[in-house]
């Protein structure tokens, strides 16, 4: 590394579990549809990757309105995983996605382990998908609706079952609504996950005090956006300290500086979610902003930022007196 380092010589790409990403910025599941709604607005091929909306076996209508409410620095959603189902995805969306020059990760949601497997099998049969992200923040019908993602044994079992069915990139998307996310990170790693996606939304709610009704039809929903960034950073830090596999950082990333914070605490890549609603080109701008930061700091590879936090103190989520 020397002063006049050529900007075009900065390595932005990264290979995770055999998949090459042209940069470390992906768009998060549920915040970019199936990648085909923004083509009038942005050159989506400039993204590191696109994670699809969660796909279930059958199409899902989703929850009744209201599904969205803005909060201080964030938003709550209760979409109910509305999606077109894996088969319509394969026939109606995948052909277009194949034309893009970016990594395509299919996100899978299900209400039973068998459903996870069936959706994955359906996707495995087709070309054009680079890997899978598994949304474990789904109610496990067998256990009375308790989320898979809050039970480490379930996370381990889902991972093991899916691992045995695919050699493609398999990332488990963890929920932050647990005491020790490291426990879940280790469970997924031990069962063969290639990566972890951290975090999904925080559980939250709001009340319309005039009608006395919850702001969301389902009472509680998922909190996302800048408000959750500090929590997401702490979870990514905790998870990435606990495992050797790469962690993909998610939560409240609005600009390149936010993304760089995630890289520094240990994320190998990041996903941009809520920011896409405000600026559908956010992901591309963030990727470019990270590159410019590296240039300014004479780094030859964006990867040099990963885990570069200068923290003398040990991980203190638990041991510091708050």
């Amino acid at each position: 590394m020397y002063e006049g380092y050529e900007s075009d010589m900065i390595t932005t790409s990264v290979t995770l579990a055999g998949v090459q990403f042209k940069n470390r910025v992906l768009v998060a599941s549920g915040t970019y549809g199936y990648g085909d709604d923004t083509i009038e607005l942005v050159d989506v091929s400039k993204l590191g990757g696109i994670i699809t909306k969660s796909l279930s076996m059958k199409p899902r209508d989703g929850n009744p309105p209201p599904r969205i409410v803005e909060t201080a620095g964030g938003m709550l959603n209760s979409i109910g995983l509305a999606n077109i189902g894996v088969h319509r995805f394969l026939t109606e969306k995948l052909p277009f996605l194949r034309t893009l020059d970016t990594a395509i990760i299919a996100n899978i949601a299900a209400s039973s382990i068998d459903e996870y497997c069936n959706v994955l099998d359906a996707l495995e049969a087709e070309k054009g998908i680079n890997g899978y992200e598994i949304n474990v923040s789904c109610p496990n019908v067998k256990e009375g609706g308790l989320s898979f993602g809050t039970n480490p044994t379930m996370v381990e079992e889902i991972t093991r079952r899916l691992r045995s069915r695919t050699k493609k990139l398999l990332s488990i998307k963890l929920t932050p609504n647990v005491t020790h996310i490291s426990e879940f990170a280790r469970a997924a790693e031990s069962a063969g996950a290639d990566a972890l996606s951290v975090i999904n939304t925080l559980i939250g709610m709001g009340v319309n005090i005039h009608t006395r009704k919850p702001m969301l039809s389902t009472v509680t929903g998922g909190l996302s956006g800048p408000a959750i960034k500090p929590v997401a950073l702490a979870k990514v830090y905790e998870a990435s300290k606990a495992v050797k596999i790469p962690v993909i950082g998610i939560g409240g990333i609005m600009n390149a500086n936010d993304a760089i914070e995630f890289l520094m605490v240990g994320a190998s890549a990041v996903q941009v979610g809520t920011a896409n609603y405000i600026d559908p080109g956010a992901g591309i701008k963030i990727a470019e902003g990270i590159r410019v930061f590296c240039e300014a700091h004479n780094l030859s590879d964006v990867g040099d930022l990963v885990g570069s936090l200068d923290a003398k103190t040990e991980f203190s989520a638990i041991s510091s007196w708050l």
Partner: protein, 255 residues
């Protein structure tokens, strides 16, 4: 649909707490059809975080007008914009009113409160296509009434300070002779309660009717699935308000 930084031309108060903001966008001004909307990022930062959708009220040359009343975070910021400020606008979005079809001769425009927003641009389209126009608007009082750029206007106010002491729907019923035998089609925008009444009236009288809906939106163009509208007896349960609306034939939806 484009995303662009547009220059604010001016912000003008037109009634009590009601403002018209004009911005410059040759593209949006030229392609927007009546009933479509724009999604505006009113501020950088997080207050407010999400864009705010506004019906296009009128276009003229390169200028686009929106009309709003100051109720919360977004509108308070918009109100303070000054000539020359830049705003990030996404649009035009959504499905317009079907003003270009030939299934009607008289456009019956109904607006309650700020539901007048899409009526000026609708009026301009109807007039250009040489359709008859009957307009029925209601507001809380004379002070919140906005009649600019409308034709053949009937007015109602909740407090009786101008026009009929009643609602836009009362007007619609009262003056039905004006349009009912002239192949009417109703285009309505306003509070849910009003739309409900308009739809009931239209269906009872077999008058075709489209309404423009409002509701929470995160993205405004289909990537969040945040804006479901319940469909009647369709193969699907919900349509997306932002992408398949905000205008809907009343027979398609449960308001």
């Amino acid at each position: 649909m484009i995303q662009s930084l547009c220059t604010v031309h001016n912000v003008e108060q037109v009634a009590e707490n009601i403002f018209v903001l004009t911005f410059i966008s040759p593209h949006i001004a030229s392609v927007t059809k009546a009933g479509q909307f724009v999604n505006i990022r009113v501020a950088e930062g997080v207050e407010p975080l999400l864009r705010r959708p506004f019906s296009v009220c009128r276009t003229e040359g390169e200028c686009v007008e929106i009309i709003f009343n100051v109720v919360g975070k977004g509108s308070s910021v918009l109100r303070k914009k000054q000539s020359g400020d830049l705003i990030d606008v996404l649009g035009p979005l959504g499905v317009p009113f079907s003003l270009f079809e030939d299934d009607f001769d008289t456009g019956v425009l109904v607006g309650g409160g700020l539901g007048v927003a899409p009526l000026p641009i609708s009026t301009a389209t109807l007039v250009a296509r040489q359709k008859s126009v009957s307009t029925f608007i209601g507001s809380r009082s004379k002070r919140q009434l906005v009649k600019n750029h409308l034709v053949n206007v009937h007015v109602a106010t909740d407090d009786g300070t101008e026009g009929l002491h009643g609602t836009a729907v009362d007007l619609l019923k009262k003056h039905s002779d004006e349009y009912r035998y002239r192949r009417p089609k109703i285009f309505a925008c306003g509070p849910t309660k009003m739309l409900h009444a308009v739809a009931a009236f239209a269906i009872a009288n077999s008058i075709p009717c489209e309404v423009s809906l409002e509701g929470p939106m995160a993205c405004g163009f289909g990537i969040c699935q945040g804006c479901p509208v319940e469909l009647v007896g369709a193969e699907r349960k919900y349509a997306l308000m932002c992408k398949e609306g905000p205008t809907f034939d009343v027979r398609r939806i449960r308001i």
